[in-house]
Each structure stands twice: as C-alpha cells, then as structure tokens.
C-alpha cells in the first residue's frame, strides 16, 4: 500500500512538473515573479545561513582542537578538518536541510493557502497556467540564489573559525595554514553542484505538496510538514548518491 501510494504521488509530481516546465505566457510577468522569489527564498535566507554557519564553523574548530588535535598531529589539522567539513558537507547538504525547513514550509504554506482560498482557481479561470506561473519562478529563483548561499555559508564558517582563533583556542597562523592546506578547488564546485540539485528538490517537492492541497487550514499545515519531511529525506538520499558520483 505504501509503495502504491508512493508511486501514485510520484506520478502526480511528474504530471505537475510537466505543467510547470512550459514556456511562460508573459516573460515580463515571469521575471517579476522570479525577482520576487529570489528575494523571498534566497535573499531573506542569508541571515539564517550566515548565523548558523558562523557558529557551526566556530564549534567545529573548537571540537577538533579539544577532542582530536594531539601533539602527534600536524598543527594545521584543526583548520584543515574545519575547511573540509564546511566545504564538503555542511555548506551544501546540511545547509540545504536547514533551508528545506525554512523555505520548504514557506512555499508549501503559501501555495496551500492560495489553493484553499481559490486564488489558484482564479488564475485557472483567467486562462493562466497556474502551475507554471507560480512554481517555475520559485524553482528558478531558488536554484539561482543557492550557489551564493553556499559561498556565504563557507565564508561565514571560516569567519566563525577565525573568531575562535582570536579567542585563543587556536593560533591564527595554524588555522590559516590548515584552511589553505591541500586545497582542492573542485570541492567548492562539488558543493555548488550538489546544492543546485538540493534547491530543485526543496522548491519542486514543497510546491507539489502546497499546490495539491485539498481541504482547509489543517490540511495546509499538514502539507507544510509533509513538504519539509519529504524534501529532507530526498536531500539525504540524493546526497548518498551524489557524493561518490562527484568525488
């Protein structure tokens, strides 16, 4: 039963995506929506991304220094490990998991409310492809802003690590040495590519749950929760497959 329901949902998701990826009726209106979504989904998330990344960068640095660094290890170990964790996993995967909570619930509740208050029906009656008009700018806006959020997250994590150095946990020279040690530029690209796919998952899955709501405010709340849970699970599964594929 679970498998049948899952396949039915996946079929409806593909059907919706078929409607979403169509030529916009008015490019002027599409760009207006696109800019609005970039601001709402991406720019408005910068604060939380910077805040969390700063503290995680700092905490990773402290944890490595206290629990892993030993006299038998090179002095750059703490900085090196902090960089690898931030670049390889935290700023792409974990940050997208956090964003699936913030952005995913935002998208699902917005579209769900539009559905139950007949705003989507109003668009359909006017002859507007409501799926494309509402969802395509969200997917495009999210995928456009996510690389910047990843870069900001990495930078904020490093600043957090430097804050611990200033506080005396580690020397600035050792941290800088670690951050620069055996730096592989591809890891940054890998992080950005992964985040592109995660951004698509967050925007499209959350839109699916919001757009297909039936009922009232209780169902909008439920769809919002389902959107966050499903997009988080899919991000984790996708991460498992993408990591060996891109490494």
């Amino acid at each position: 039963m679970f498998i049948v329901n899952g396949l039915a949902s996946f079929g409806r998701y593909l059907e919706l995506m078929g409607k979403v990826f169509s030529w916009p009726e008015r490019w002027r209106m599409f760009f207006k929506q696109y800019v609005k979504e970039m601001a709402q989904l991406g720019v408005d998330s910068i604060g939380i991304v910077l805040l969390i990344s700063f503290f995680i960068g700092a905490v990773i640095c402290i944890q490595i220094k206290i629990n892993i660094q030993s006299p038998w290890m090179p002095a750059f170990t703490t900085g090196y490990t902090t960089r690898e964790i931030m670049v390889l996993e935290f700023s792409s995967s974990i940050m997208c998991l956090i964003l699936s909570g913030k952005v995913g619930s935002n998208i699902a509740s917005e579209l769900g409310t539009m559905r139950v208050t007949q705003q989507i029906d109003a668009l359909e009656i006017m002859g507007v492809n409501s799926a494309s008009f509402l969802i395509l700018p969200k997917i495009a806006g999210m995928m456009t802003t996510i690389p910047f959020l990843v870069i900001f997250s990495i930078a904020a994590g490093f600043i957090g690590a430097y804050a611990t150095a200033i506080a005396g946990v580690i020397t600035v020279d050792d941290l800088t040495l670690g951050l620069l040690h055996s730096f592989n530029q591809w890891f940054i690209w890998m992080s950005i590519i992964k985040s592109f796919i995660f951004a698509f998952i967050i925007a499209s899955v959350s839109s699916f749950y919001g757009y297909t709501v039936e009922g009232g405010s209780f169902d909008v709340g439920k769809s919002s929760t389902d959107a966050v849970v499903s997009s988080s699970m899919l991000i984790l599964f996708a991460d498992i497959f993408l990591t060996p594929l891109l490494s």
Partner: protein
C-alpha cells in the same frame, strides 16, 4: 449566450448532475439557486471548466467548450471573468495590482494605459482611493468589489459569480447585486450567479434556474417564482418566515 445540453456529472458512483438542459441569455442576470449540496456549484464549475462533465455539451455562443482543445479553452477563458465566494484576491498584491493582473497577463496595453484601465474599473465599483491597500486591509464587501473590478478588467463576454453575497450584510449584498446587475446590462455580458440568497433572487433574478438533488427542477424569473406551484421550489423559497409572509401579502393583493 451559454447553453447547457444534457449535462451529467458523477463522482465515483454518485450522480451529482442529471440531464441538465438550460439556456443562459446574454445581457441579463441568470441565477442558479438551490439548497446546499443540490449541485449548483458543481454545475457552475462544469460550465467554467474547473470540472469536466461526465457527458453533455456546454456551448459558449455555439462553441462547444467540452470538445475544445486545451489551447482553445485557454483562449475562451480570457473571455470569462469570475467572482469567487471568497473573492480570491491575490493577497501578496495591492488592490490596484489585483485589478491590473489580467491586463498585465493578457493585454498589449502599455503600463500607463493598464493603470488607467484598472483605475477606471475601480471607479466603476466605487473604490477610488483604495488602490494602494492590501486585500487584508479592506472589508469583505470591498474585497468583493475589487473582485468585480478584476473580473471586468478585460471586458469579458461571460461573467460568473459564485455566491457573491456570502458573508456580507444585507445592505452590502444589495450593493454587490446592483453592481453585477448594472454591469451585466451595461456591457451586455452573459452573467451566471450561483446563490441561495433570496434577496438576490427577488432583486435581480431575470432568469432563474432551480436545481434540486442534481435535477433542473424549475426555470423562470423573479415574478414567476412567487406564483409557482412547484412544491420543492416553494419549500426552498418559502423556508423563511419572512418570505412566507411576503407571499401571503402578495396573494391577498392579487385576490
């Protein structure tokens, strides 16, 4: 003119509409009335294309909506305006942006002409001065008037109103009814109103269709409704004490 021929609609095993045949004339207000759950909203949703009929024809000036291609349906929808029960205004847009929306999407007017047209529509519904407000900042009656302004922005040939007076006080309901009625006559639109507000029926019911348990039970106008002998219609219309008294007075006057 909109014509419905032999329309059936079923949901799983339940027949909600059974062989509906009706003509909705141009330039007058056509009302669909009936109890809650009688099928009137389903009938309207079939007519506007939000539901697909199980069988039957829906003709918009002799163009069969059911048999149209997706593209043709989209083009026809641009000739429709609809006022929803909840007004269904876009809550992220101001009043002016809501009215401008259909113009932004489908007209080739330049920005200043679109603004001018939207302001004209707002003036037509007596809402000048509310352009910059958000839907959440205005009353239910004003929201309905914005919905009317948005519905007429593109000069539609067909206007649909799904319980436009729902949640409004009698005085505001009267204003909305008068507005829809005068706009219908002014622009020669084919207007269909779905209602169970008896004040609307008696005020603007130029062509009334009574739906009962999915059947078209009675068709006539507001004058004929008072003298109808249809039992089901009478039990619906005169369910309220007020209308029973009105009928009694009318009958006495006739005698």
């Amino acid at each position: 003119m909109i014509e419905v021929r032999h329309l059936y609609k079923s949901f799983e095993d339940k027949d909600v509409l059974k062989d509906i045949n009706a003509i909705f004339e141009e330039g007058i207000t056509n009302l669909i009335i009936g109890q809650s759950g009688s099928g009137k909203t389903v009938l309207m949703k079939n007519i506007v294309g939000l539901f697909t009929p199980t069988s039957g024809e829906i003709l918009y000036d002799n163009r069969d909506f059911v048999k149209m291609s997706k593209r043709e349906k989209v083009m026809l929808r641009r000739e429709m305006g609809m006022i929803f029960q909840s007004a269904a205004l876009f809550d992220s847009m101001t009043v002016l942006e809501n009215v401008m929306f259909p113009l932004d999407m489908f007209s080739d007017m330049n920005q200043s002409d679109r603004i001018k047209r939207a302001k004209f529509c707002l003036e037509r519904v007596n809402l000048q001065g509310a352009e910059g407000k958000m839907p959440g900042e205005i009353s239910g009656g004003m929201q309905k008037r914005v919905a009317i302004a948005r519905a007429i922005a593109l000069n539609p040939k067909y206007l649909f109103c799904d319980e436009p007076n729902s949640g409004l006080d009698p005085k505001t309901s009267l204003v909305i009814d008068e507005l829809v009625h005068s706009i219908t006559h002014e622009y020669k639109m084919t207007t269909i109103i779905n209602t169970h507000d008896m004040n609307s029926v008696m005020g603007i019911g130029e062509n009334i269709i009574f739906i009962c348990e999915g059947d078209l039970e009675w068709q006539g106008n507001k004058d004929q409704i008072m003298t109808s002998t249809n039992e089901r219609l009478n039990s619906f219309i005169f369910a309220s004490d007020l209308f029973r008294k009105v009928k009694k007075v009318e009958n006495e006057e006739r005698k």
